[in-house]
Symmetry: C2
Subunit: 352 residues, 2 copies
């Protein structure tokens, strides 16, 4: 399912066909009810504008929450869905210097609305991709691998041989954590929910570089302690679940360890025994990639430096896109539905 | 009830009278059952030893928990109770250079066992007090004011005009927070439990420098929001309670604010909505003075520098001892009982 955008494909794609269309919603609600494929109008190109033909855009859980109205970002209506994706430059405004027609680009910020065939974005809202990055890697680079990269960099100092524990290890961010950590020589303990085809999942995560893959149920059992004694106690826990799963990870953290919460799949709050804070000096933090991008909007080198490091990992084969299921834009209802079905592990990617 | 140790008192006190006695426990249990006033033996003075006559020692909640066996520090048995207090040097070993007979001293570390008439401590375990510090201030300086000082210094950078919110504001540490913050021009929002004589408590805390004193019940009400809008949103929350009280304080914290938990009076864990961590970037930490002293044992200047700063505040009248009730050592059963009675706000101080 993964492929390079070949030169001929790119030349062809530079010509935009048909009227601009996009997945639009005019109010919050369940995606299958409020999202519709509609014609969208393009603004004038302007001096700093970049006309982009979108090629592929994933459906992330946060996109769904944003449509439902349960996310911290509320769009202006009518809104085009999607916050991540990859496109190709068709035309540039007269003041644009960093991009040229044919370049692959990804959004530098959330909220651009990527589920559409074409768009005009400001130059500063786009980041150029190297030409040899696989399309699905580029389409899924801006949120999950960036989240994983920052969480492994910004909270504790990790040396090769140190360990990290994470739940929801099979998520897009979880898989990126496994791969980026493995590339840095950092060991990972990966907690997943039990499921019928567990061994298949374990094998797949281990093939990405996971050191240990255990179920939430197993994490609570005494025999897991022996297993975990073979590697250093983790300095960092990455939590996308909250509730009991987060509390359980805390128990395994090293003295003065940090837990970073970046998602709340269980919809339960994080509960910390007082003793973990006072006597074990555990630190709790949160992370939100969208906010990081806002905080660093004036420091684009920091973002482009991270993207360059991630692209190097991709080029070396150390960071791959998660399992993806590509769906034509017209079949968006199927893709939205699949993205909300529990245990469907492949990420839905809209192809324009 | 507060008095200076006059020169004559000190000269007199240098002579130790009677056999050394202390409040000893040989197993964990309820204090009124396991603690007994007994003769204790003194070790040889040794070259680095300091023979101290104890003058006054408080009963802190952590002393009670340590006897009950529910604290993170477990003593060797038989153990002498008490971790804080003030004494006067009677005699010094030949290598002792920092102290001389007549000096007032407090413990530099927890676990020394201060509920006794006299003791021999190592020089490095003692800190010298200026001679003009009131006895009750010296006796209660090592835990609560130090905890308050560190929590106001080590987690966020507070400028004059910034605000701090705390629960259990009437505790020894809470009162020290109010006074140290006021001396630095930092505003305090002080949360207390409702009680029959509430106004008396409000007046007392305001007389110490509290800007706002509100009950936990009032903190949940919308009208409190208006009140709190008059001062900046707090950057720091200090939590000695846990449970709902901690969660409620989180709601009032500023974006990127920090909550430091240093006690768990409610015996409930701290529960944090996922959104507070991810979207509000709230940070959770813990603090334990005993651990801080251990971590800085090789850096005694840091401890003595803090003590000197606190003594300056005491000398200026900006930091006073909490309300104290002095009890002769022989009446220890009454003092232990009173220290465990809810809403008894005066600290029990054993006088030797």
């Amino acid at each position: 399912m993964r492929f390079l955008v070949s030169a001929s494909c790119r030349a062809m794609s530079a010509a935009v066909q048909g009227r601009p269309r996009g997945l639009v919603y005019e109010k919050h609600g369940e995606p299958d009810r409020v999202v519709q494929l509609k014609d969208v109008s393009l603004p004038e190109l302007g001096a700093s504008g970049v006309h982009v033909r979108m090629l592929a855009a994933p459906i992330n859980p946060s996109d769904i929450n944003m449509i439902q109205g349960s996310y911290a970002v509320v769009p202006d209506f009518p809104a085009v869905g999607g916050n991540e994706g990859v496109g190709q430059v068709v035309q540039i405004g007269s003041n644009v210097t960093s991009l040229k027609p044919g370049d692959l680009v990804i959004p530098a910020d959330a909220g651009l609305g990527t589920w559409r065939t074409e768009a005009v974005f400001e130059e500063e809202k786009l980041l150029k991709m190297p030409p040899d990055i696989p399309l699905l890697s580029a389409a899924t680079l801006g949120v999950n691998p960036c989240t994983a990269f920052r969480m492994l960099s910004d909270f504790v100092t990790l040396k090769p041989g140190d360990a990290v524990i994470q739940n929801a290890a099979n998520s897009g961010a979880g898989q990126a954590v496994i791969q980026i950590a493995a590339a840095k020589g950092i060991k990972t303990i990966n907690v997943v929910r039990d499921r019928p085809n567990l061994q298949e999942l374990v094998d797949r995560l281990k093939s990405l570089g996971a050191d240990h893959v255990i179920t939430e149920e197993a994490l609570r059992k005494p025999e897991t302690k022996d297993l975990l004694q073979k590697i250093p106690k983790p300095l960092l826990a990455l939590d996308a679940v909250g509730g009991k799963s987060a509390t359980e990870m805390l128990r395994h953290l090293q003295y003065k360890g940090t837990m970073v919460t970046y998602g709340g799949m269980s919809k339960q709050p994080v509960t910390i025994p007082m003793s973990a804070l006072i006597f074990k000096d555990i630190r709790l933090r949160g992370f939100w990639m969208t906010q990081w991008k806002r905080d660093n909007a004036q420091n684009k080198e920091k973002l482009s430096g991270m993207i360059a490091e991630l692209c190097t990992l991709i080029q070396k084969g150390q960071l791959t896109a998660p399992a993806c299921h590509e769906v034509p834009l017209a079949d968006y209802q199927l893709a939205l539905k699949a993205s909300m079905t529990p245990y469907v592990t492949a990420k839905q990617i809209l192809r324009m």
